[in-house]
C-alpha cells in the first residue's frame, strides 16, 4: 500500500467518512451503490467519490456501481483496520475516562488496556475494567506490553513532557493528543493533535450571521 505518497491529505481525511457512511448502508441492507447516490448522501459530487476511491484501486464496476460490503472492507483495509491496536490513555481525568468508555473505538479495533495518571487519588482505581497506573510506571509498562497508540489527555503543561517520555521508549507508533497544545514527536512517531477548542471557535465564527 505504498500509494500514500501521491494521495492528497484531503482525500485521506475523507476516508473515515466513507467508512462511516458505508457502515450505515450495510446496516440498512443496501447491497450496491453508485457514486452518484453515495455522493448525494454524503454531500460530495459523484466525481469526487470516484476520484477518491480510485486513488486506492478500482473498486467499482461499470453499469453496476460499488458493492457496499466489499467497498466497506476495502476502505477498512486502506485505513489499516484489518488489524487491531493496543491503546493506553495518559491522564485519567474526565476526558481520559470518557475516551476509555467509548465503545465505538473498541468496536473498530482500538483496545484500551491501561490508563496512567500522576494523581495518587486516581492511581489504583479501576474504571470500567481498566486499571489506572502511576504515570511513573509508564516506561516499564511500555517495555513489557505492545502498545500502538497513546491517547494523551493531560493538561497543556504536561503534554509535551509526556509525549517525549513515551517517545523515548520507541515502543509506540502514534500519539493522539487532546491537550490544547501542539505536541511534536521524533520522526517516525505519528502524532495527531486534536483541538476541540478550534472546532468550537469556528462555530463561534459562523454564528455571527
Amino acid at each position: 500500500m505504498e500509494k500514500k505518497d501521491k494521495v492528497s491529505m484531503a482525500a485521506i481525511r475523507r476516508l473515515p467518512k466513507y467508512y462511516r457512511y458505508l457502515k450505515d448502508l450495510i446496516d440498512r441492507d443496501v447491497e450496491k451503490i453508485s457514486s452518484k447516490e453515495l455522493g448525494d448522501i454524503m454531500g460530495f459530487t459523484a466525481s469526487q467519490i470516484r476520484q477518491d476511491l480510485n486513488n486506492f484501486g478500482g473498486f467499482g464496476q461499470q453499469g453496476y456501481g460499488y458493492n457496499v460490503k466489499e467497498l466497506y472492507g476495502e476502505v477498512g483495509k486502506i485505513l489499516g483496520l484489518d488489524k487491531s491496536y493496543e491503546v493506553v490513555i495518559i491522564g485519567a481525568g474526565n476526558l481520559g475516562q470518557a475516551l476509555s468508555n467509548y465503545t465505538n473505538f473498541e468496536k473498530t479495533g482500538f483496545n484500551c488496556k491501561a490508563m496512567f495518571d500522576v494523581n495518587p487519588r486516581l492511581v489504583g482505581m479501576t474504571i470500567r475494567d481498566i486499571k489506572v497506573y502511576d504515570f511513573d510506571d509508564i516506561e516499564g509498562y511500555l517495555e513489557t506490553h505492545d502498545v500502538d497508540i497513546a491517547f494523551v489527555c493531560t493538561n497543556k503543561e504536561s503534554a509535551q513532557d509526556v509525549a517525549s517520555r513515551i517517545s523515548n521508549t520507541c515502543k509506540i507508533s502514534a500519539i493522539w493528543n487532546f491537550a490544547p497544545t501542539d505536541i511534536v514527536t521524533p520522526e517516525g512517531i505519528v502524532v495527531e493533535n486534536v483541538h476541540l477548542i478550534d472546532s468550537l471557535l469556528t462555530v463561534a465564527y459562523r454564528i455571527k450571521d
Copy 2:
C-alpha cells in the same frame, strides 16, 4: 465583518490556531512578531500568514511586523470572542461531563449553564455546579434562557432527534455534535459535527509506515 463570503474555509479553520499561538506568545511576553517568525513557529510560510491575516485587515506594519497583543485581540474579534456564549450540554455521560469541566472553554467565553439527560439516575445531579435536568424539560429551558450553543453528547441513535427538537425552538444558534453521525439542521442553525473516530482512523492509516 461581511468579508466572510470571500474568505476560504481553509483560512477560517486556521484562525483558531493563530489564536492559540498568539496567546502563547503573550504568555511568554513577546511583544511583536514578524510573519516569518510566526510562520516558523506555526509551521506555515510567511506568505501564508500574511495572506491569511490580510483576509481580515492590515494588522501589521512594514519593518516592524505584528503587535502580538493587538493581533490576538483582532483574531479574537474575528472569531467572535468579543462576546460570551451560553451553552447547554445534552447528554450527561462521560463525554458530556468531560466537556462541562473543560475550563478552557469557560476561559474563552463559553459558559455551560445546564446539562440534560434522559437517564433518571443522572437527572437531578449536580456536576461541578452544573445541574442535570430531564431532557423533556429542554423546550421549557430554552424558552426561558438565552442559549447560544448546544453540545450534543448523546449516542448516535438519539442525536438527530435531539437536534431536531432543539432546532424547533429556534432559540439556539448552533449545535456542536459529538455523536458519531452527521446531524443536519435547518438553514440558519450552524452545525459542527466532530468525529473523533475519524481523527483516530487517520492515525491508523498513517501508522502503516
